[in-house]
Amino acid sequence: MLRKIFVLTLLATLLLAGCGPASPSTPTTAPVSTVAPATEVSTVAPTPIILTDGLGREVKLDAPAQRVVSLAPSNTEILFSIGAGRQVVGRDEFSDFPEQAKGLASIGGSMGQYSTEAIVALKPDLVLAAEINTPELVKQLEDLGLKVYYLKNPKTIEEMYGNLEIVGQLTGHDVTDLISSLKARVAAVDEKIATVTEKPMVFYEIDATDASKPYTYGPNTFGDLLITRAGGTNIGGALKDPYPQISLEQIVTSNPSIIVLGDSLYGINPDSVKARSGWASIEAVKNGNIFPFDDNLVSRPGPRLVDGLEQLAKLFHPELFK
């Protein structure tokens, strides 16, 4: 018995005998072909792309990235919208738009835990992080020899165009047409809203698990920005925190004429709102102006913010969008 244990221990020790500190692995970049086919004109090597990311780090790519791993749903949406969908090889757990993104390999992301193993196994030449990812994660991936670009959250729609340009540069896509069309759509909404004289009071519900203190968008959020730009008055905008809880009393006092249900994806519908006690006196409940809404259109800092703006404007001023 003792002999068996001894031999087993020895074997196990031998197994780990090769342990030693790891040397950092260097990433393999796509090799530039040196043998040019006879019919091709000899091309100059592609110019390197050097950008400074949101953390102040310098990121250098020798050629546009062909294997991108996206660490945030907003990044996935940006990549697909600029036409780089085929260059994406992995995405985080929550990337669900567009439909093709769901078919890509997932690298984790719930509760802030990403599988660095899965990311490394995909052999990416660029990892696109967002503000929702921690600097620690960026450092981890950097230490593993991967190229990471940290895309800072935009604060306005115009800054979002800037992010589209950055990702366009990183993946080798021209985004001028996309940006022009987005600008045109936003300008169309702005034009119509400029003629508005009355801005309805709007209550945007993010979460009402506690119906006496629901969460809403406060100042300095895209929700607040888009509601205002779409010709509404966000009652949450008077509060201090960006994602505050607003008391039911405050809602009743402000008496919004429109309620937007950002939690409709979680099963909340206008009938469940009407059934809440204490909500019956609110004008929006009395005249039935309770609208389900896809919260992703105002919370993900990507091109779909323009969709969000248009949809909100149609909700607030339907007569202008016939």
Binding site: G112, Q113, S115, P135
Partner: protein, 331 residues
């Protein structure tokens, strides 16, 4: 046989170490693993094995050892089966320190990234110092006072942490991930940073077995048997708090390991602290590593925070062990 307990525990640790290197969210076949181990592996499998799994395994093992060792020490010090390393506020202090640090936008540099573990560590030690000072009565430190002061201060720190998290803008997710526990900083930096504190703290504990056995008789009896009770308690408190604070600073708050592992060791091998402390240390590493393997694999490629797995798996396991030993008065 005198060293049977050590042999079994070490064997279990080695087994789970191997398991932790072999299993992960990406499947590597035994031949790929062997190739990577001997240096002939593909770049991906070598990177996964050496740069991801090995540092993480070592960090988790060290964390488990620290938490278990101090858990056993606290149980001996307070003579209370419910004592765990977070009893006098190390966890809540560290959490508060970390969340406060997270509300500042540190520059992306070596020291910027070390800011959060460092403030967690500092805050944990400050908390222990405050609790110790509050509990002191003249030249003695009554254990009841320590527990009461610790619980009160813990509640205060925890509610302050929750409040800060509510008021913060983008850091809630980061704070929550940290509080739930898990190796947030990988790589050898974290290991090098905590190793000295662990060596000092756990080293002192390993050699305090005899003193802790004496403490079990009660403060007065131990004093009469020749032990300088106040000095011993202070040294034990400092060393376990050092080890716990270092472990928590990088791995967040992982509950249950410090509470359950010493009890299991006690049930299996008896309550002699000269043996209990080293065994708890070894088995703590094993237990946390096993939980981490489960956390990595159960919903791959998603990874669950380790703290959740230790609670979910640890509780039933402990109840099972307790049932088997219920006829023996082990405490």
């Amino acid at each position: 046989m005198k060293f049977r307990s050590y042999l079994f525990s070490l064997l279990a640790l080695v087994l789970v170490l191997t398991l932790s290197l072999a299993i992960g969210s990406v499947f590597l076949s035994p031949s790929e693993l062997w190739a990577a181990l001997t240096g002939h592996g593909s770049q991906t499998s070598s990177a996964i094995l050496w740069s991801i799994r090995l540092p993480r395994t070592v960090l988790i093992a060290l964390t488990g050892m620290a938490l278990s060792g101090s858990g056993a020490a606290y149980q001996g010090l307070f003579r209370n089966p419910l004592a765990d390393p977070f009893l006098i506020g190390v966890a809540s202090g560290a959490g508060l320190g970390a969340v406060i640090a997270m509300s500042v936008k540190w520059p992306y540099s070596f020291w910027g990234l070390m800011a959060i573990p460092m403030s967690a560590f500092a805050a944990a030690l400050i908390t222990v110092f405050i609790v110790y000072s509050l509990a002191r009565v003249g030249k003695t430190i009554p254990t009841t006072n320590l527990i009461l002061a610790g619980v009160a201060f813990s509640s205060f720190a925890t509610s302050l942490t929750s409040f800060l998290m509510l008021r913060s803008t983008g850091e809630v997710r980061r704070a929550l991930g940290w509080l739930l526990g898990g190796a947030s900083q990988s790589g050898w930096t974290a290991i090098l940073a905590i190793a000295p504190y662990l060596f000092i703290g756990l080293g002192i504990l390993i050699f305090s077995g005899h003193a802790m056995n004496l403490l079990q008789f009660g403060d007065d009896q131990a004093q009469q048997l020749g032990l300088n009770v106040t000095r011993t308690k202070t040294i034990l408190l400092i060393s376990s708090s050092l080890a716990t604070a270092a472990a928590v600073a990088f791995s967040g708050i992982i509950g249950f390991v410090g509470l359950i592992v010493p009890h299991v060791m006690r049930l299996w091998w008896g309550a002699d602290y000269r043996r209990l402390i080293p065994l708890s240390i070894i088995s703590g590493g094993t237990a946390l590593l096993l939980s981490d393997v489960i956390a990595r694999v159960i919903l791959a490629p998603q990874e669950i925070p380790v703290g959740i797995v230790t609670a979910l798996a640890g509780a039933p396991f402990f109840l099972w062990v307790l049932r088997r030993a219920k006829n023996q008065g082990y405490w």
